[in-house]
Amino acid sequence: MNVQVQKLWRSPTHAMSRRLIRIEIALIPLALVVFLSAWELLVRWQGYPAFILPSPALVWQRFLALLADGRLLMHTTATVTEVLGGLALGLTVALVAGYGLAKSPLLERILSPYIVASQAVPIVALAPLLVIWFGFGSLSKILVCALTVFFPALVTTMVGIRSVDPDLRALMRSLQATRWQTFALLEAPSALPVMFGGLKVAVTLAVIGAVVGEFVGADRGLGFLINLARGILDTPMLFVALFTLVAIALALYTAVVLLEYVLLKWQRQR
């Protein structure tokens, strides 16, 4: 029954782009191999001491050691908890506030100077204050994280809700849709593509936010581990922490892309 439809979108260009995607996926690990080889060669040729630039093999050894004594897992768990907590808090507040501001131009006019001003204060300068107020525990980091995530999520929510087609709004009115129906059937799905853009920015910023919080004052977390490694010139450990942070950011980003792939199925059907 769907034969006609499939004919419409299974054009040659579609098959070609699929092949290209497959090649691209194969190139990602290849680039990693090239990068690691270049790194190893550089260390061997120049003979850098390990505290300046350790070889990849040395970093790998340190990684296995940190994994074995459980420290890496403990610090990673701490950071991931802060990131997820910060994301949950920041996104929730941004979604609610963004929706409210999008619906009320008056509210936006009154509040937007304050929101922009809050963004003008560097989060690095604000973090010490939050640590003094909320302690060395994870709460202060969650707050730093939430603050970094808040702005991009807020702006994209506002843009998304504002960009809803006025004719579709008129349609919902002509059907006498309730406020909730207008939100669930029109505004949310319509704003989603824009909001995913903000979400991609937010998840990577969330990792930065957590590390900034940990730098300022913490007794655990990957930011703490980096600080510790710097103090004792354990550069291999520093690299391990760094790569773990990269892995967290990549995992979060991939999760968002997958979610987008599932939720925005209609955008691919062109």
Partner: protein, 254 residues
């Protein structure tokens, strides 16, 4: 004539970009009988679309009143179906889900019943095989059929069409006209249609109003005494051609 839909002395103004008030409609009145097909033609900017939005309750007049079965109409109602100039479909919903939307909003019956009814309409507007396609995969004519099905699925008593085929090519437009007549012949809802095309108006309607711009008002009225069911061949008949000429004279005189 018993009035099903009445517009009494409608006035509507807009602020134009230079901040001066623009009189879109100046004391416009009209009567539509139950089951009648009324077409409104006029040049661009004569306030036809504004009039239709007032009749739908989507906008309020500055003064005057719209009445449906004698009752003042102040807000949109479900018994009024509206078809927009663009198909105005939700790009994230499939054809089937777009057509079912009014049933879902009015919560009439189960989702499964709504789906079954939407399926009927998919067939009725000739989109078998496209039920699960997204709007972006359809041609303009197909999209407008989805819009028509969506406007009719909850069996409105009044159907308002705002230049529904204006964006289509001439051939598709002719086919859509015939299909609209077929559907209308089967379920005689009251229709008010705004269009640019004189022959479209005369081919479809029982009565044609000619509007004049600045300020928008009814300039002339033509009864269309052509027998139904009407066939495409009708448009070359002398009687039809004569009517076209008469209507055109009223418009170009403006």
């Amino acid at each position: 004539m018993t009035a099903f839909l009445e517009a009494i002395n409608l006035r509507k103004t807009f602020l134009d970009p230079t901040r001066s008030t623009l009189l879109a409609l100046d004391g416009l009145s009209l009567l539509v009988a139950e089951g009648e097909f009324l077409a409104i033609v006029g040049p661009s900017g004569c306030g036809k679309s504004t009039l239709l939005r007032l009749l739908a309750g989507l906008e309020r007049p500055i003064s005057g009143q719209v009445r449906l079965r004698g009752q003042p109409l102040t807000a949109p109602r479900r018994e009024i179906g509206f078809v927009f100039q663009r198909a105005n479909l939700m790009p994230w919903r499939t054809v089937l889900d777009n057509i079912a939307l009014p049933l879902i909003v009015s919560r009439s019956g189960q989702t499964r019943q709504a789906q079954a009814k939407a399926r009927e309409w998919v067939t009725l507007v000739g989109l078998e095989g496209f039920a699960h396609a997204y709007p972006a995969q359809l041609s303009g004519g197909m999209q407008q059929r989805v819009a028509l099905a969506r406007a009719l699925i909850h069996e409105p008593t009044l159907l308002l069409l705002d230049e529904p085929f204006g964006a289509l090519d001439a051939l598709t437009r002719e086919r859509m006209n015939s299909e609209l007549l077929n559907i209308w012949d089967r379920r005689r809802v009251t229709v008010v249609m705004v269009t640019h095309s004189i022959s479209e108006a005369l081919f479809l309607a029982d009565r044609v109003l000619v509007m004049a711009p600045r300020p928008g008002r009814v300039r002339a009225e033509f009864a269309v005494p052509l027998a139904r069911p009407r066939d495409r061949a009708l448009i070359t008949e002398p009687e039809f051609v004569q009517l076209v000429r008469a209507v055109r004279a009223e418009i170009s005189d403006v």
